[in-house]
């Protein structure tokens, strides 16, 4: 082999090497950038604190959902007993209801007669003074508190009160201590309206 052949060989080899290098660079034209600092290396204490807060937030969310689910189950269980609980109260207060109806029956019939013969079929209720509610409640005695749980919303073993479903309010007057007038609607006796029921409503 002549020396010039060797020179040509090495020149070509060098050319190949340069071409190879240029091809390698072409694939990664982006300059190398320093990698972002890894938090655990940069500030381990801060990273641990963030991790702890992250876990705590997740746990809090989980507990909140769990609490909601328990509340719902607590209330749903009580709702299944609402009707029998209120029927018991009706048995207790039915006499008072019947007395209220019978006491005002004549007045009501008179007003109903007037309503039927009035121009618009309506007359103001004089039984409640046109207010739509009475100044008392036959179920709670005007306290506004649920007669079963006495306003606590809970019964034995911290169960939800089936009568008021945990609100603590009297279901018959919605806590106002003033029951709705059974003879009218918002203080108006209408010719079209139904007469008050003989049985005390359960308001289910």
């Amino acid at each position: 082999m002549k020396p010039r052949h060797l020179i040509i060989f090495f020149v070509l080899l060098l050319g190949c090497a340069l071409w190879f290098r240029s091809q390698t660079k072409a694939v990664t034209p982006v300059a190398e950038e320093p990698a972002a600092p890894i938090p655990s290396q940069a500030n381990p204490a801060a990273a641990a604190q963030q991790q702890s807060a992250f876990d705590a937030a997740n746990q809090a969310r989980s507990q909140q959902l769990n609490h909601l689910e328990q509340e719902r189950a607590w209330r749903t269980k009580a709702a299944q007993l609402t009707q029998p609980a209120r029927e018991q109260l009706r048995m207790v207060h039915q006499a008072a209801w019947a007395a209220l109806i019978s006491t005002n029956q004549q007045t009501y019939l008179k007003l109903l007669h007037e309503a039927v013969h009035s121009k618009n079929g309506k007359v103001p209720c004089t039984i409640c003074g046109g207010k739509g509610d009475l100044d008392f409640c036959i179920v709670c005695g005007g306290t506004g508190k649920c007669p079963t749980c006495h306003g606590t919303g809970k019964v034995a073993h911290d169960d939800c009160c089936p009568t008021c479903l945990g609100t603590g309010k009297c279901y018959f007057c919605n806590g106002s201590g003033k029951m709705a007038c059974p003879f009218c609607d918002d203080g108006i006796i209408s010719a079209k309206a139904q007469p008050p029921p003989e049985a005390m409503p359960l308001n289910l």
């Binding site: 082999m1 002549k2 052949h5 040509i8 060989f9 070509l12 080899l13 190949c16 090497a17 071409w19 190879f20 091809q23 390698t24 072409a26 694939v27 990664t28 982006v30 300059a31 190398e32 950038e33 990698a35 972002a36 600092p37 890894i38 938090p39 655990s40 801060a46 990273a47 604190q49 963030q50 991790q51 807060a53 992250f54 959902l65 909601l68 689910e69 509340e71 719902r72 209330r75 709702a79 609402t82 046109g130 739509g132 506004g144 479903l165 279901y171 007057c173 919605n174 806590g175 106002s176 003033k178 709705a180 609607d185 918002d186 203080g187 108006i188 079209k192 409503p201 308001n203 289910l204």
Partner: protein, 478 residues
């Protein structure tokens, strides 16, 4: 020893050249394969890094948006204070990056990532209740950096014509007692009448934590009803718990604005009736203080107010003092017109004809609540805020007469909207939000009762501490 170089023979020279060419070809081939393998490997690595960087950047935007939401609705401090004072997610305000009225906040997010950080930036207008924001996040993986950008809009999150937060009961009746127990009852409908709850575009008809009981004949699509959500992940937050951080409105803020000149506070019903009975449109925030001892509570009648109550802005019935309960009521037979719409083309059942009078256009700009200062006691109202049309505290405004209200109707109490006269229209275009149930009735003849959802009335609802608002993505770019 003397070495003598013997001149190569001719055939030997030829062999060397062929060897040289073959060597070049082999070396070139090896180099080409090496380049191919290397470049493929580099591309694969870059692709993996790119994908990871995109994912990290996206996640960074989501985390920053969550931080933004927390800061936006946290009542402890102001919005921007919340951003910079988080225990584990505090942002740094970049003072150099501020434009004239823009604020830029930045933080490096490291969790929940493993060995990776993302730089997040939040750009907002300088306001206690900004209506838009831009969140961006950049992540570098290997030598690939990717940035994700999201434009966000802060607006009221719940969309329904009627929103009831009360847990209600399991009762299925359509009577008033069932409604008073915290449920939503839609009861009707009289001969030739309409009783419609319309979810409109993008809203539900009713969203309730309790039950929604609808009588036959009423126009309430069952698919437009979301009910018995209490105690579930879908529960509507109790926006009506007054005095808590969760309550939607601070009534005292509205009273302060009225007293600052953007309206008037009437200390009893008689004063209000005297102002309203001329038929004049009362602009701004009209506050009516009501006490149980007020002998004129029941005087909002058509006889006393033949032209009705006409408001351009907000009407607030402030049940003051003791003795009020959610069902302690006064009945209104007079027409109530608040930001009244032109209903001359109203066709019940055709939602495209449901006009609106919202937002109000003030003839007296001094009555516009945005033009009075109630700061620092309360945040000032600002341009673009949506103010409610009708508010009342614990007590009941029992509306029996004509109603034409455009805007949000809100009460922590109980609502009765009863169409009690024939050939009468009760129309609410906006949203009705209540805390103790609602009774919506139309048993009259040839009467129309419509509650139609209008997002435009509550998009930028000026709630206390931005309660009820959520972040919605309007634009996302990578």
């Amino acid at each position: 020893m003397k070495i003598t170089l013997t001149p190569a023979k001719r055939w030997e020279n030829g062999s060397a050249a062929i060897f040289l060419y073959l060597t070049i070809i082999v070396v070139w081939a090896i180099a080409a394969v090496a380049v191919y393998i290397t470049s493929t490997s580099k591309m694969a690595t870059s692709r993996v890094n790119l994908t990871a960087a995109v994912n990290y950047a996206d996640a960074g935007v989501v985390i920053a948006a969550a931080d933004l939401r927390t800061a936006y609705t946290n009542t402890a401090q102001t919005f921007t204070q919340n951003l910079v004072s988080g225990t584990n997610n505090a942002y740094t305000q970049l003072t150099n990056a501020n434009a004239s009225n823009m604020l830029v906040f930045q933080r490096t997010i490291s969790l929940p990532f493993t060995n990776q950080t993302v730089t997040a930036q939040i750009i907002i207008t300088n306001s206690t209740a900004p209506q838009t924001a831009q969140v961006s996040a950049s992540a570098t993986v290997g030598n690939v950096t990717q940035t994700a950008v999201a434009n966000l809009e802060m607006k009221f999150g719940q969309g329904a014509a009627i929103i009831s937060v009360n847990a209600g009961t399991t009762g299925t009746g359509t009577d008033k007692a069932t409604a008073q127990a915290g449920n939503v009852v839609v009861n009707g409908v009289g001969s030739g009448s309409y009783l419609i709850v319309d979810g409109g575009a993008g809203g539900l008809a009713v969203m309730a934590n309790g039950r929604v009981n609808v009588s036959a004949g009423s126009s309430v699509s069952s698919s437009g009803v979301s009910m018995t959500n209490w105690g579930s992940a879908n529960a509507v937050p109790d926006y009506t718990s007054q005095g808590t951080a969760n309550s939607l409105f601070d009534f005292n803020r509205f009273i302060a604005a009225a007293n600052a000149g953007a309206g008037h506070e009437y200390t009893n019903m008689t004063d209000f009736i005297n102002a309203a009975k001329t038929g004049a449109v009362l602009e701004g925030i009209s506050v009516v203080d009501l006490h149980t001892t007020d002998k004129d509570l029941g005087d909002l009648t058509a006889a006393n107010l033949p032209n009705g109550v006409n408001i351009r802005g907000t009407l607030l019935f402030n049940f003051a003092g003791s003795g009020w309960t959610p069902t302690t009521k006064f009945v209104v037979n007079a027409a109530i017109n608040i930001n009244a719409a032109n209903l001359s083309h109203l066709v019940p059942g055709t939602s495209s004809t449901y006009a609106t009078g919202y937002p109000p256009t003030y003839t007296d700009s001094t009555k516009n609540p945005i033009n009075v200062s109630i700061s620092p006691t309360y945040p000032n109202f600002q341009q673009g805020d949506d103010l409610p049309a009708l508010l009342y505290s614990i007590g009941e405004v029992d509306m029996h007469g004509p109603v034409n209200v455009c805007g949000v109707v809100y009460t922590p109490s109980y609502i009765e909207l009863e169409n009690k006269a024939n050939n009468q229209t009760q129309y609410i275009r906006g949203v009705v939000i209540m805390g103790n149930g609602m009774y919506f009735e139309n048993t009259s003849s040839d009467s129309t009762s419509i509650i139609s959802y209008d997002q435009g009335t509550l998009k930028n609802l000026t709630t206390s501490n931005n309660v009820g608002k959520s972040l919605f993505v309007t634009y996302w770019q990578q």
